[in-house]
Structure formats: C-alpha cells, structure tokens
Symmetry: C2
Subunit: 195 residues, 2 copies
C-alpha cells in the first residue's frame, strides 16, 4: 500500500534494528485520511469473506479497525489490556507477552460481544513476534467464532510473527512489510513504491 | 442527538445510580455508523473554530475523535494512561483520578505532537466529575496551545464535571446529557426524542 509506505518513509523513526516508531500517524497521533485508506484496503481484501465483526487490541488497533468496520459495515470489539484480571467469569482472556516492552499483559473481551455465528477479522497495528495476534486468535476460538484472518498495518517481516501465524493455517494480509531496519533506514519486502 | 439517546436507551445498562455501562457501542464494542454520526455532529458544532487538532484519552475516546477528525480534516492525538511514568522529559503529563474506578492514572502526550499554534478540541466518551477533562486541558495548556472547548459523547449531568469546566470558562458540548440514573432507568436532561 503505497501511501502507507510513503508515510512510513517520511515520518517513521527507526529507533534501532528492531524498533520503528510511528507515533506521528498511527500509535499516538493518528492521521484520519490515512486510516480511511487503510480501512478501505482491508475492506477490499476481505470483502468476499462475510466479515461480521472486527476484533482488535486497544489502543493502537482501534483507529484502523474502526475505518475497516465502517467500510465493511460491521461492528468492532477491542480487547482490553490489563496487568492482571479479576472477576473473569464473563470474560474470554489470554496472556500476551510483548518482547518489545518486556511485559506480559492479560487481554480480555466480554463473552457477550463475540458469538459462535461471528466471522472475525483480527486487525492490529504491528505484527512482530505474533504474540498479540495469537492472543487475539485465542479469544476468538474461545468464543467458537470463525477466524477469517489477520489484517496487519505494519509487518516486521524479519521477525517470526507471520511464519507462526501461517504455520497455524491463518491468512495474513499486511499493508506494509518491512524487510529490515538496518543502518537506520526502512527497507520494504516489496521495494517498488510509486512515489 | 436523537440517535445516540435512542442507542443509550436500547443498549445502555444502568449498573447503579452512578454508573451507565455502554460496552455494546462505545466502551468495548463500537458501532461505526453511530461513531460517524457523532463525529459529524461534533464537526458541525465546532466547524467555525478552525480546529487544528483533536486531543483525547485512550481507549474509548479514540473512535469518536477519529470520526470527528475525519469530518474536520485535522489530526488527532490520544493521551496515554499509565500507572506511573518514567522518562518524562519529552512528555506533557498530568494526574487524573477516576472516582468510578478509584484509581489515579498519569496521562501523557509527547511534546512534539501539540504545538502553540494548535487550536484544540478535546473529545471524551464520558463527562462525570471532570477529572479526565481537566487533565487533558492541563496537557493542552502545558503546550501553550489554544483550547477551543470540549466535545463529550455522554454527560452525567448529575455529577459536577460540566459545572467545574464552565466555571473555568470552557465551552462544553455534550451530545447526550443524563439527568439521572434512578430506578434503573436513564433520564435525559432534554427528554424530547424523536423516536
């Protein structure tokens, strides 16, 4: 997705070989027109899959999910992150370890918000080690809903997330795939961008 | 805003005289078409104010803010909540006490994301005791930006938030104003709804 790649090149900050900071348009500030295009792209990719609900993770997954849900005319649910969970009877929950932040969070959704009839598209801002994605998939499976696939805004293809998800048979659609962050610059898997 | 009031009446759950749960369309699941109408309503209310940026608080403020920002053609920034903050040199931060949850969080935005030239609209999902609103206003003032006013999705008018903000001279626009939650039902300040 060219407009996304261009924005990553112009506004992303390579912190080190593993970390790309995109605070100016996705993770802290949000560019609505870009989110709209992202939503339309995900909707186009999954339009034939009868998606009934989008599941994402607070907070950075909400904006791209909302625009996708608007395009697909379905609701979305964002899982909440907590250091620990109490009173879990009404929740589906899973543990997610973040290698970037070196913390483990519990993520959870209310049981009443996902039903076995739902066809779910999981959307997240980043795919790196796949731990958040697996946690979200776990919630969907606990609800006995159908997981159609994953829509990822930015994939760090040099980390194992995609392989882990594909090995489980999941469909993964990423709008920008980063081959590496060497020498302080972003290199994409598909280097062709119409500038 | 009739469509919002109707949704509150049909889907909101009165937990007790102080707490209204709106998990099915605003705080956990999100209804995109409703968010779009909310965004258009805020945009209409503030269209003559040359808003350059919307500031909100993760996570529930993001969806209505995104749709408003899309309508006003400006960016948005969501402040992050943390139990505690480290390395605050690059952040504007404030303490916010939640009477509902009985916790105090630090909220923060990166200094580079708000500038003195910005005309800011603060949007939040709820206005109750006004503590989150005051914390967000504090961040805006630390940046020496201009605070145009507050856009609130649901105001609990029986709590002091609006009065506190108005006493400071702030403009407050709420799309649904709840007079009370007595007897397990929602009563609005303006009872007229075109059903």
């Amino acid at each position: 997705m060219d407009v996304l790649k261009k924005t990553i090149l112009s506004e992303g900050k390579v912190i080190n070989e593993g970390v790309l900071k995109v605070d100016s348009f996705l993770n802290h500030a949000i560019k609505p027109s870009l989110m709209k295009e992202i939503g339309e792209e995900f909707a186009m990719l999954f339009k034939s899959n009868n998606i009934t609900k989008i599941v994402t993770l607070e907070s950075s997954g909400i904006a791209p999910s909302l625009m996708t849900a608007l395009s697909l005319d379905c609701d979305l649910v964002f899982a909440r992150k907590r250091k620990s969970l109490t009173m879990t009877d009404h929740l589906y929950s899973a543990s997610v370890h973040s290698y970037t932040k070196q913390v483990t969070n519990e993520i959870a959704v209310s049981k009443e918000l996902i039903s076995p009839e739902d066809n779910i598209l999981i959307i997240d801002d980043f795919l790196a080690n796949g731990q958040a994605a697996l946690g979200l998939a776990d919630l969907v499976h606990q609800a006995n809903a159908t997981l159609i696939g994953f829509g990822i805004v930015i994939e760090k293809s040099f980390q194992p997330g995609r392989q882990i998800l594909e090995d489980k048979g999941y469909r993964v659609e990423s709008l920008a795939r980063i081959a590496n962050l060497s020498n302080g610059t972003v290199s994409f898997e598909d280097a062709t961008i119409k500038l």
